[in-house]
Every structure is written in structure tokens, then in C-alpha cells.
Symmetry: C2
Subunit: 220 residues, 2 copies
């Protein structure tokens, strides 16, 4: 049997770490546990990642890249159907990397790179929400005065988007972040972020969003 | 000099712990550090609180009691001026116990009592926001269809209320939870929670809230 290339091992370490961090929380997963999960030696793991923070940082780099790619789509949203799809895709990506959100402040206080990069990421999210609002407004779907409501609404959307999974976790610590809760958590989250726009929507669009939300209410 | 009564020491331990937890985060403060801060022996501290979790639980009991007393006032709100004052008072209390919000999920995963009690507290907050919306609606200040918007709006208000300080912390980890940032953090928080009601307010009330918010924007 051919020996596995180092590149492949580094990749497997990231995949296994992500699964374990998501399942148990990053502070509760040691590098020893990751090595054991992969049936490799601690030495082999350290050869690729000399410290757990380097695994966390490598995962953050991937998340950040995927998120940046996605956030650009905020400006292309044409109606509430697009916005609904956009929000779901965003929540799906957050769900894939949910360990960041489960222990965010703890991670920030222990990891200098995250402390620097997460504020930048929140700014990018806020800018994307702002773009989404402007795009909907330009198409006549949204009736919102930019001077009064756009910036605080974009900020509140980011707070709900960022902390929705934490909120679900507090409500049900033992179930909320398990895979079988994914679908409900993502739908609840998207529904609440877009719910903030409901009163500002042009009537046809509002009815359309209510139908999308209604279909979800029946499904959960 | 008279020897201090045990009751007084127990009280001082709670006060010192609260200050240290707020300043450095609960996971970063040991019972040894608390004893050192008070110039008492570790033995004396253990006599009053045999484990750090018991200090955390005693502080939670105080917070829970103060919060429950306050939340009842949600139903008595008559206009946006009352709502603004209510939200400030709520944020001031959250600020006093901000360490819970800084490391909430971490605390929940390590402390069984908090894991049980925090969901109850979130429910009480959601019920209070719902009461506040109903009170404003009864007075004609709010134009909101209960069937469509009241429950999700109350829930989103609780998410913004609960995670506002975490959000400020991510944006500026080294400044956000320091005492000199209190005033700005509380005003920003109250402004964003009540901002969610803006589009639903009766026009005179909306103008009144905009004036209150405007006075704040100039002050920060």
C-alpha cells in the first residue's frame, strides 16, 4: 500500500479537527484527541501543525475565504427570494464552522490572529448586509430611508446572523449544535434575520417573504 | 480592631469575584487570584465557597433576582420614552454582570446550574419583550400585527439584547468591556434593540424615538 503523502495528512487533520471542534467545542478538544481520532502519532500531527492554534488559524483562513466569496453576492440580490436563498447559504457556511461561534469570545481572548481578524470579518458582514439593503431598495423591493434605518438595520442583521447559533445553544445546550438540529437552526436564523426587513418591504415582496416563512413554519 | 464577621467576608468575596470576572473573564480568574485580591487565605475563601462554581452560582442568583424584578416593568411601558428608559436600565444591569455574556457558552458547558437556568432566563426576557410590545400596541404607540410580527420581533430583540456586549467585544476585544466604554456600549445596545421597533411605531412616537436616538448620536 502506498504511503500517504504529507499534503493528504495535513488535510485530514483539518477535517478531523473541524468535526471534533464542532461536536465538542474547541476548548474541549486537545491535539492528542485529534491525533487519536486519525490514528496517527502526536509527532506526526506536530510535524504538520506544531500547535492547536495553527489548526484553528488554518480553519479560520478557509472560513474567511469561503465567507468573503459569498458575501459579494449580497449586492446582487434582486428580491426577497434571492435574499432568502442568500441568507440560507450564509447560515449553511456558518453552520459548517459553528465552533467559532460557540466559543467566540474565548477563542478571541486566547488567539491573537483571531482577535485581529474577526473584527474585520464582522465589518465585511455589515458591509454585505448594507449592500443587500441597497440592492433591494434600488429594485423597489424595500422602502427604507438610508439616513435613518439602513446602518442600524444592517448592524442588527449582523448581530442576529452572528449570534443566532449561540442563542440556540443557550436555549438547548445539548441539542442545538448537533447535526440533526441543523435544518431547523438554519431556517430559524434566516427567518429572524430577514424578519427585520419585513416592515420595510414593498407589499408584494412582504407577502412573498411571508409565504416563504410560512412554508418554513409548517416544516418545523 | 474588631474581627470581621463571616457574613461580611462572604459578601466581599462575591464583590471582588464579580469585579475580577468582569475585568478578565471568568475562565481567567482563579480562586487563588480572588483570595489574593482580598488579602485573605485560600482556606478562608474555601470556607465560604468550596469551589469557584459556587461563587458563579451565587452571582447568578443575584443577577437572576435583579433581572426578574426588572423584567416585570416591560408590561408597564406606555410610550417610547418609557421603553428607552426600560432598555437602558436593562442594559445597565447586564453591564454589571457582563462576565456572563462574555463567556456564556463556555460557562454553560462547564456549569450544570447555569446550563439549566440560562434558558429559563432567556424565556423570561422574551416574555418581557412580548409584554412591552403588547403594552405599546394597547396604547396605540405601536402598529404591529401580533400574528405575524410580535413573536419573531420579541425574539430578535432578545438576541440583540443578549449578545450586544459580545458583539462589542468582538469589534474591540481590548476596550469594549472596560468601564470607560460602558456608557457608549449601553447606548448603542438600547438604540439597536429599540431600532427594531422603529418601522412599527405610530408616526409621533417614531419621531420621538428618533429624537432620543439623535441626542445619543451626538453624545457619542
Amino acid at each position: 500500500m502506498a504511503k500517504k503523502a504529507p499534503r493528504r495528512t495535513a488535510e485530514r487533520i483539518l477535517e478531523s479537527s473541524l468535526a471534533l471542534f464542532n461536536r465538542f467545542g474547541e476548548p474541549n478538544v486537545s491535539t492528542t484527541a485529534i491525533a487519536a481520532d486519525l490514528h496517527i502519532s502526536a509527532g506526526n500531527l506536530y510535524y504538520h501543525y506544531p500547535a492547536k492554534d495553527e489548526i484553528v488559524n488554518a480553519l479560520f483562513a478557509r472560513y474567511d475565504e469561503a465567507l468573503s466569496g459569498l458575501l459579494h453576492a449580497g449586492a446582487d440580490v434582486q428580491d426577497v427570494e434571492d435574499a432568502w436563498f442568500f441568507m440560507h447559504t450564509l447560515f449553511e457556511l456558518i453552520w459548517q464552522y459553528r465552533f467559532f461561534y460557540r466559543d467566540l469570545n474565548n477563542l478571541l481572548s486566547c488567539n491573537r490572529r483571531l482577535e485581529e481578524q474577526f473584527p474585520v470579518l464582522l465589518q465585511a458582514k455589515t458591509a454585505a448586509m448594507h449592500d443587500l439593503l441597497q440592492a433591494l431598495r434600488r429594485r423597489g423591493a424595500l422602502q427604507m430611508e438610508p439616513a435613518d434605518a439602513m446602518q442600524p438595520t444592517a448592524t442588527s442583521m449582523v448581530v442576529v446572523l452572528t449570534y443566532w447559533l449561540s442563542f440556540e445553544y443557550v436555549r438547548a445546550p445539548r441539542q442545538a449544535l448537533e447535526p440533526e438540529s441543523a435544518q431547523a437552526a438554519l431556517l430559524h436564523g434566516a427567518r429572524h434575520v430577514l424578519g427585520l426587513l419585513m416592515p420595510y418591504l414593498e407589499p408584494t415582496q412582504r407577502a412573498h417573504l411571508a409565504r416563504l416563512v410560512g412554508a418554513y413554519d409548517q416544516a418545523t
